[in-house]
């Protein structure tokens, strides 16, 4: 039984349906008489919208409705919102402009929704959308965050396009520490904008039932209850009790499906306007590039003050963050509370000060994308530490080790608000150096040189915060919601178990991991457990899946539900076994009278609970328990990544030769799933470092809007990863001791790659470090050397 419990490499039970094409995604759902929505999107990055030729299109074959921003306004629907108020240095709240479901006065980025056409068939809807005439008066646009301040005003009344000017840390202490520095390392860097690229594009199917007045939305969501909340409380699509949100199988999210987008609100609203005709919309790939919230897009300056012994004294960071044309659901917290709070990294740097300015630009909204703020922080720290080591002539591993928070210093209060619970950074560093044969590098470098190649090795000692989050803490920082999670465990007559969770699986394998948890906690066979998620009408209210929180927060709610099941079961077993409750022990699914072989299985106890003929007095029938868990702290996964690569100086091509990842995820429920999560994260991190870039031209056209131009990492771009997750220091914030593993790879990898590349060619190249950029950098250094 427990061979499929916690710690086992159990194959994923959901994979049979995914691999055999039996998954059921939003677009697979076909309702009787469903119609199709197509969105007319702005071809201009910034334009005033004049007349829209609705009437001409309304008569076209099959067209059921054409809707514009004016119709949305007339119906009294509200604006989309960003749920986290980040307060500026001067105490003022953030400048949140309206984020209309459909544009009213202006379009503010290429892809902004100008109108929605609904027709009986998809082709008819496309024909009508193509035919719809919209008068645009193009306006000047700004796309670069560095130029946002001087760009055209995007939202009336928001001068300089500034959303907030925020700070964290002790500025005076940081300044003072810089006065004492023996050496200061300075860096300026760009964190490149990325498109999320979930395999399944976003989709929504809205249905209004005129009889019950119930609204049902099938949607690609990572958090159906959050969708329900925002759509009812802020946008006003329907009262919350009349709104059901279902997120069935969802093919990847990486953050992009957390957010509440106009399209999904509108199809549901349109179904009501059309008296109950179900309305479906599925994005095509270019629509996904244009309209999914993007990630990253920072420009930063940082300085690290170091004393004569190589101890870090202080870190000072300024970041300009591009939030795009509108503030998406959680956009404001990404470059602030999910970013600057991580700037201590694994180091005991005593003073840190960061300030962050966030701007509007004429680009797609930017929000959380795998790692969300933490990759940007980790990249900045690990790049500047790498540069410091080069400038000081120190071994980058030893400079890091010298500055690590020692393992006996936990819990450790950083200067940027977080309290790290546990960790052993030297252990993961040592293991990674060992696995990568760090000592043998010089010989390998010589061997490469003999073939005319430039070899480099790079480290990244990342840390992140997962398991978001203690509600009171995030509330005090401006979050509009609590970030607890719910779980429920329900036995049936026959001893089978349903697990209900407020989290959502869109590739992570929750059905397997949570079943393993039940198998271990309750001794029920893995196969007898069914995990239910993604339907606001089935599961308790939950906050969903992001920030690697599902197991650390949601799993703990399930674990606590199990504890309640055992507590109740003990009472029932004591009655059935005619023993005192205190004498009942529970292990491997058996309630046993201490010191005897008299026992009742949990299945027998469940049966007794539902057929309570012989039953303890005062105990309710049934065996179903739930829990809500609000974590006391974040969890802090950390580790060391080592990248070794070779550059061809003739072309600038980089080949990654080895990638070693040693992660401390605390306890691990399914090592195979965890390794898979790391592999995926590493691919995205390496993709960011070498390949991926969402590129706008200066007029605001997205020039990387197809796979012909957006470079996705492929299997052949990387070697076999060497991943180890065995070195855990268990997390303190949950009884399972788990930390979360979904984002680590994407957080830690970029700096390892870029440090290795810098080691190889002697200068740092901005991400994505394409062959051409690398080649130019090599040429420039050679010219400089020749001139000396």
């Amino acid at each position: 039984m427990t061979d499929k419990g916690i710690g086992a490499r159990t194959l994923r039970k959901e994979d049979r349906r995914f691999i055999t094409g039996k998954g059921r995604y939003v677009d697979d759902i076909r309702m009787q008489g469903q119609a199709y929505a197509v969105f007319v999107r702005s071809p201009h990055a910034h334009a005033r919208i004049g007349a829209i030729g609705k009437d001409a299109v309304l008569g076209m074959p099959g067209v059921l409705g054409v809707f514009t921003g004016a119709d949305v306004q007339a119906d009294g629907l509200g604006s989309n919102v960003c749920g986290w108020n980040v307060v500026s240095k001067d105490g003022s709240g953030m400048n949140m402009a309206p984020y209309p479901l459909l544009c009213t006065d202006k379009a503010r980025y290429v892809g902004d929704r100008v109108a929605m056409v609904v027709a009986e068939t998809l082709d008819q809807a496309r024909d009508a959308a193509d035919a719809l005439e919209v008068d645009y008066e193009p306006l000047p646009a700004v796309v670069d965050v560095a130029k946002a301040q001087d760009g055209p005003v995007i939202h009336d009344g928001i001068a300089g396009n500034l959303i907030y000017d925020w700070e964290l840390g002790d500025k005076a202490a940081t300044e003072a520490a810089f006065q004492k520095a023996a050496h200061v390392t300075r860096i300026e860097l760009v964190n490149n904008r990325l498109a999320p690229n979930a395999l399944e594009p976003r989709a929504a199917l809205g249905h209004f039932d005129p009889g019950t007045e119930q609204h049902t939305l099938y949607v690609t969501s990572q958090n159906p209850h959050v969708h329900r909340l925002v759509m009812s409380a802020f946008i006003g699509i329907a009262p919350e009790h009349k709104l059901r949100v279902v997120a069935p199988d969802v093919g990847g999210g990486f953050g992009s499906k957390i957010f509440i987008y106009g399209e999904e609100c509108l199809v549901l609203w349109a179904s009501r306007k059309l008296d109950g005709v179900p309305v479906k919309w599925t994005a095509d790939r270019t629509e996904a590039f244009l309209s999914d919230a993007h990630g990253r897009d920072h420009v930063s300056k940082a300085e690290l003050a170091i004393d004569a012994d190589g101890d870090f004294l202080a870190l000072r960071v300024n970041t300009k963050a591009n939030l795009g044309a509108y503030m998406s659901t959680f956009s404001s917290c990404v470059p602030t509370y999910l970013y600057a709070t991580l700037l201590a990294g694994q180091y005991k740097t005593p003073a840190i000060y960061a300030d962050v300015q966030a701007y509007y630009t004429n680009t797609s909204p930017v929000d959380a994308y795998r790692g969300a703020g933490r990759p940007e922080a980790s990249f900045l720290i690990e790049t500047i530490v790498g540069q410091a080591a080069r400038e000081l002539g120190r071994d980058p591993a030893e400079l890091r080790r010298q500055n690590f928070i020692p393992k006996d210093a936990f819990p450790y209060q950083t200067p940027v608000a977080l309290t790290y619970d546990t960790g052993d950074y030297a252990a993961t560093l040592d293991r990674a150096l060992d696995l990568s044969d760090y000592k043998g590098f010089e010989a390998r470098k010589r061997e490469s040189a003999s073939r005319g190649k430039l070899r480099g090795i790079g480290l990244s000692c990342y840390i992140e915060a997962c398991g978001i989050a203690p509600s009171a803490v995030v509330g005090s920082l401006g979050a509009g919601v609590g970030l607890w999670e719910s779980g429920k465990v329900r036995f049936s007559h026959t001893g089978k178990v349903q697990v209900l969770t407020g989290t959502h699986s869109h590739g992570q394998g929750h059905e397997t991991s949570f079943s393993q948890l039940i198998a271990s906690k309750l001794g029920v066979p893995f196969e007898d457990v069914e995990v239910i998620h993604g339907d606001t009408e089935k599961t308790p209210v939950g906050m969903g899946t992001y920030g690697s929180r599902s197991l650390a927060v949601g799993g703990e709610a399930i674990a606590r539900s199990c504890d309640k099941i055992v507590a109740k079961g003990r009472k029932i077993a004591a009655h059935l076994l005619e023993a005192a409750e205190a004498d009942i022990e529970f292990k491997d699914g058996q309630f046993t009278v201490k010191g005897t072989d008299r026992a009742k299985s949990i299945g027998e106890v469940a049966f007794a609970a539902y057929v309570p003929h012989n039953y303890p007095e005062g105990v309710e029938p049934g065996l179903e328990e739930g829990a809500f868990f609000d974590p006391p702290n974040f969890t802090y996964p950390a580790g060391t990544y080592v990248c070794e690569l070779e550059v061809d100086p003739d072309t600038g091509t980089t080949e990654i030769l080895r990638f070693v990842a040693v992660d401390d995820f605390g306890n691990v429920v399914n090592p195979m799933i965890v390794e898979g999560q790391v592999h995926g994260g590493l691919m995205q991190g390496i993709g960011q470092a070498l390949l991926e870039g969402a590129v706008y031209d200066q007029s605001g056209q997205l020039v990387s809007a197809t796979y012909m131009d957006y470079a996705m990492p492929r299997a052949w771009d990387v070697p076999f990863f060497e991943v180890e997750t065995g070195q855990g220091t268990p997390a303190q914030a949950n009884s399972l001791g788990v930390k979360g593993c979904g984002e680590a790879g994407a957080i830690g990898a970029p700096a390892a790659v870029i440090n290795a590349l810098t080691d190889a060619i002697g200068v740092r190249v901005e991400m994505p470090a394409t062959p051409e950029k690398v080649w130019h950098a090599i040429q420039a250094t050679r010219h400089a050397q020749a001139a000396e």
Binding site: D123, T651, L691, V695, S704, M708, A711, M712, E772, W775
Partner: protein, 267 residues
Amino acid sequence: MYAFDYAKPASLDEAARLLADDPEAKALAGGQTYIPTLKQRLAQPTRLVDLAGIPDLATIKEEGDGLAVGAMTTHKAVAASPVVQRAFPELAYLASLIGDPAVRAMGTIGGSVANNDPAADYPVVVLTLDATVRTTKGEHRGSDFFPGMFETALEPDELIREFHIPVPEAAAWEKFRNPASRYALVSVLLVRTKDGEIRCGVGGAGPTCFRATAIEDALRSSFAPEALDGVTIDAGDLNEDIHATAAYRAHLIPVLAKRCVRRMLRR
């Protein structure tokens, strides 16, 4: 995609007649270029004339001092063909690097050459070896088949039947991939013909494939990598996009040509 009629004629002449009768009709081969174009509504043909039902268009034979390759031969078939692997292994290698397995299973040599994408691979072969393009209206020489970007010497109702590709004495193909599309950012085909002539064809770099005469001249005097030291290619006419500047493309051409030389000398 817009709605269209569909025809699946049984002979190439019938296909050509269908195209001649209706200027808005369009031939369909493997669909790897044209179907995505249709899906994006970038073309609106009245009728698709599918060439997949025509027998004997996907054959590979040795013919004289070359290979006769039918227009509907897939990239996969060329890559796997024992005839090609024996007579002209570098052509099989070239085909094996096109796109991905799905593209190679469907895409055809005829479609690739008729489409003349600046980054496509087969046009470089047809140009460099001066292959004969046999069509429903006669023959064309590969050396003047590609007037410009996405243009060929074909008339709208003219269909490619097969190619006659002279087999070179020796050849090397180097493809530097665009990191996003994996088409060629720059490709170089270097050959020594049966008459001992050195020819260097370049793909991906310009509006259409071309011969790098500076490289040919340098290698004619000395067939060694060092002969290309100092050979530069004018970036003026080359493509520039988010993946590469014209200058970088110009730089890559002799680099890839040198690799071809090294590989040919090693054999």
